[in-house]
Symmetry: C2
């Protein structure tokens, strides 16, 4: 999957570290090391000191610095754009920082829609959202993959599928089960250092690219392949990406990610209930390969402990499935269901 | 939708007119005129004389010529690559013909994966599979479209969805119902002179492009918008395209296209029965907007009249829906069901 040397990142998150999802993901789960985070508004401390709970492992802490110069002392190999800018395009100041980093020999890494390679023709650039040059059509080879393949799916987009997948992978590792994480979105790809953003792939090739990712992950002979899901079958803008990934990755089982419903969803479209979603994912999967929903991962962010407990119990009752909140409690019941299925 | 001047096509189908699906579509249904077909192996006659039944309307007949020179006398505006070459890329001889046509001032039109604009930098080229430069994200505006919107769906890819859609549109016109055809694949786009190949669009934008096509079609205030379907929910390689189109085009009703099952489908995946497919399309649509399957279009190619009749009755019994073969008999019952729904 990934035998390239590890990167040493400076993460650019100027003024935005608190909401920098990509930075948080790399700090918490990344294969590569973060040697420093660049945010002059929080400089002087460390990530763990500034945002307790974000990085449970003290070995993954990093200093927050005010300038690129301070970061360069720590011998980074790469600079990562760690947050999507408000207006979509990178502000001029950030471009200056990236130019200086490139001048110091650093690789530039970005996961935005805006491609950086054309902006820095002289630099080494990894545009994470750039689709694979040779995208295959789905072949059916994925049906024969040896290890068990599990895919996360959801009742909505942006509901915590990537984090749930990574937490299952982490718990598997702790339990001595060798799990391969298959990244399908920009943050996942940056965290793992390989993969593909399936939503940036031409639609004809989404299933083929998903199949190819699973085949590549299976080559290292893990016990379990865990595929990061995207979108939702019920999300009117992204449902096609979701179904392409569901069919292309040929999963043996599914983990449904849910959160408490907070009013109408995208474009006013209501989210399906967990039970309805579970049934629909199973029916859609079964058109190509049967794949039961074996567990539910509940994202209870914003709820009190009591509310969270009530929500988890309600979902478990309604779906008849093992349900757990991987963040608040343990991902154990989900991992058990995946392994036992 | 399309107020550009009509093209006058020379259709390039050298040695392959009999199997040239794109040429057949344009001859039978095209908005633009075909002034000549280039196939030296059949030259001397006319299309209707050579392939009876292909072009029922005598006003749509065209001469078959052996050389570009003969065609140029008929004042064409454009040369259309009317058949996909066996090896994927156009043979050198065809490239020579296209170069000569461009030299004579003709526009080059192609619907292949291979883009022609880079090959003929001096010429006017319409690469039909080139996705729209500005692809929108699905917004939900499509929910408010005034005319009734119908979409064709199928139990498999390449099952006759485009032809069924065009036949419904033709019958509507004959019945005094103003129908707008929305093309979503290369032949459909060439036939109508506008549209987009949704399978060539980046997956994030498939639903948005489909919605945009319907909004554009609705602008001419037709009584009915008929959207050409793509792929199948059960086709492992293309199901994502199908679901993106199903949700993005916001249809009010669906027409299910079926054919007799002839063994395992793509990558060994069995096709769903018509009844199962109808139920699944309705459930998938209902996640975003309810859209009943109101009729079934049966493709009975290769069957005897008796077998075809039996197949149509069987599908009608199993689905409980009006079922007709638009080619062998009449598309009337389907149009009636669409208008009455």
């Amino acid at each position: 999957m990934n035998s390239t040397p590890k990167r040493r990142y400076v993460v650019l998150a100027e003024g935005r570290l608190r909401e920098a999802k990509t930075a948080h993901g790399v700090l918490r789960y990344g294969r590569d090391e973060v040697v420093a985070v660049l945010d002059s508004t929080l400089a002087g401390g460390s990530v763990r000191g500034t945002m307790p709970g974000l990085v449970p492992d003290p070995g993954r802490d990093a200093p927050i610095v005010a300038t690129l110069e301070e970061a360069l002392v720590l011998s980074p190999t790469s600079i990562l754009v760690g947050v999507a800018p408000a207006g979509g395009r990178l502000p001029g100041e950030w471009m200056e920082t990236l130019r200086a980093a490139a001048g110091a020999g650093l690789e530039i890494v970005g996961g935005l829609h805006q491609r950086l390679a054309p902006e820095f023709p002289e630099a080494r650039v990894w545009d994470v959202r750039e689709p694979p040059a040779e995208a295959p059509i789905f072949s059916g080879e994925g049906f024969g993959v040896e290890p068990k393949v599990a895919l996360t799916v959801g009742t909505d987009a942006a509901i915590g599928k990537m984090t749930a997948t990574l937490e299952i992978a982490r718990a598997a590792g702790e339990a001595g089960v060798q799990a391969a994480f298959v990244p399908t979105g920009q943050t996942g790809v940056i965290i793992a250092g390989w993969g593909a953003c399936v939503d940036a792939v031409v639609s004809d090739f989404v299933a083929g690219v998903a199949e190819d990712l699973v085949l590549r992950a299976a080559k290292s002979m893990p016990d379990l392949v865990l595929v990061e899901g995207q979108g939702a079958l019920s999300h009117p803008a992204y449902s096609g990406v979701t179904l392409g990934l569901l069919h292309g990755s040929c999963p043996d089982c599914l983990v449904l990610c849910v959160s408490p419903d907070r009013g109408p969803g995208y474009a006013g479209v209501p989210r399906p209930s967990p039970a309805r979603a579970a049934r629909l994912y199973e029916e859609a999967a079964a058109l190509v390969k049967p794949s039961p929903v074996v567990a539910v991962s509940a994202n209870t962010k914003g709820l009190t402990d009591e509310e969270a407990q009530h929500f988890v119990e309600k979902v478990s009752d309604e779906t008849g499935l093992p349900t757990a909140d991987p963040f608040r409690h343990s991902v154990g019941p989900i991992l058990e269901a995946v392994l036992g299925s």
